[in-house]
Amino acid sequence: MEFSLTSEQLMVQRMVRDFAQKEAAPRIKELDRDQRADPGLIQRMGALGLLGICLPVRYGGQGLDYISLGLVCEELEYVDSSLRVVLSVHLGLNSLGLLQWGSEAQKLRYLVPQATGEKVAGFALTEPGAGSDVAGLASTARPVDGGYQLQGEKTWISLAGVADHVLWFARTASKAADPHQALTAFILETDRPGVQRGDLHGKLGIRAGSTGWLACDQVFVPVENRLGEEGEGFRIAMACLDGGRYTVASGAAGLIRACLDASVRYAQERRVFGKPLAEVQLIEQKIAGMAQAHAIARLLYLQAGWMKNQGLRNTRETSMAKWYATEAAFACASQAVQVHGAYGYSDEYDVERFLRNARGAMIYEGTSEIHTLIQAGYALGARVDTPLRCELPAYDPAVWSAPGSD
């Protein structure tokens, strides 16, 4: 069993840490206060190759492995959750979905510009009336000559206001049919006639991140834009979530580390009852708990990343990692605020932002309740993964670094 990171992975970790500290950290407090996304951030991340880090070179990616993706997310969310969210939706949910399910033509047309950051990608699954109940979504795709006509509304969509492509999930069969067979996935360009969108504000956390809504009113998409087969949408959505949840899990490990480091720093500076706060046992207990949570969160996501590298199905492990890490991140952020006392309650320090940012991840990409049900299902034998028509390809350094055939 090999627990050490490769020199390649260590270099990736250090590079992204430098980027996040130098370029994002100095501005994040102001952006969060203003509820404003950094307009140049996605382009900058694209220019550095972050948006295609674990995609094959022939699809415009950087040819690194899935563990590197996790390390990147940990470093990004150490600074702010909004940075990691970009990778979650653009790469984790959308681009990895295209890599897994897309035809070669779709990969060349959509994945390549996404991997380089030329195009921004999103994931449009959640609706005003359907979140956890994916099979109950109301958007429709009606077969028409040469393609489909999309009708419906999506909300709580990260990057909705800036995305060029989104994966759009809609009902292609009537509600009477098996709900899991009724959905179909589409690659939707947001400049198609009939697409409307807007931003949402007033969020509790991730205020420096872009979140919005999308609506399709009689939007035509050609049949070439269908991802996978008709009726395969539910399985595709769940497979995409295996990618997205992995980035949320690894990011949450970074958030826990940020809470730990901030608490250690403050506890060593601040004096109480004639001694450093760090020598008060009740504070030590909180800090020990954060260190423990980080170790568990990190091991869980690295295990899931390793399984992705091996080409092993990891729905169960990824769900466990996401569930544990996001709950732990919220608990650690709350304890970090407690360590900081009244200062922690003010935005003079970062920990109040960590607490607000941590809360959303217990809702998006599978609520904690959904993950509880998933884990119970596996443990009780009620849930068994069946092979997919398209599996996420295992990481093969030779294949990943090979240049395009043209």
């Binding site: 490769t6 020199s7 270099m11 590079m15 190759g49 950087q62």
Partner: protein
Amino acid sequence: MNIVVCVKQTPDTAATVTVQDGKVSWGDAPLVINPWDEFAVEQALRTKEAHGGKVTALSLGPEAAKEALKHALAMGCDEAVLVSDPAISAPDSLVVSTVLAAAIAKLGEVDLVFFGRQAVDSDTGLTGAQVARRLGWPSLSLAAAVTALDPGAKTITVARMLDEGRQEVKAPLPAVVSVTKEICEPRYPSFMGIRKASKAPIPVWSLAEIGISAAPQSVLTWPEVFAPPKIETQCEIVAGDSAVAKAAALAARLIEEKVI
């Protein structure tokens, strides 16, 4: 142009330095490329991008120092060479400069050698100048900008950053330049560069391979190393009903403490 950039592997500057048993300890700090050397690598790469040629990163150190060279490769250097020999231990700058000068001579027709201004662990700032002296080349230290470089006429002009101001210095090539952080902003290693660097062969040269038969010995020793005494600080809030009263109370306290 044939450019060489010399890099050292040092502890991360975020590390806590302590003294244990008369020796400096960096604890288990991660080892990184000397941060000053990143500016030297960047300047070497920019010189190559402007004038063509290749950049070779060179280091003296244990096998683990290859990681610092990989960082230089990941930033874009074409080749890297490590000089490593069990006969060298705790080298002072005279030893390091002897070895690096011999390795540069072995690299062939070199036009320019870049150094960071100093290493964050030993902080002598001498190695660049000593290498220049051993090669018999001009030493341009503390360069804050390369203001002109003419590969045809084989001349370089740099602006040196001095306490008194800036000084323009022109010298013939080949030359040794040590750079300050004002010269450029180091790029991040690219992911493509990281992939290539992790697979790149890094030749290891022994002293014999660079023509040194007897290992040079350090002449500097550190008979005593001690940590600076810890400064105890106390915080005192000066109270008062108004700003004037607070200022008067503060002035009284400062006079009492003989600060003013």
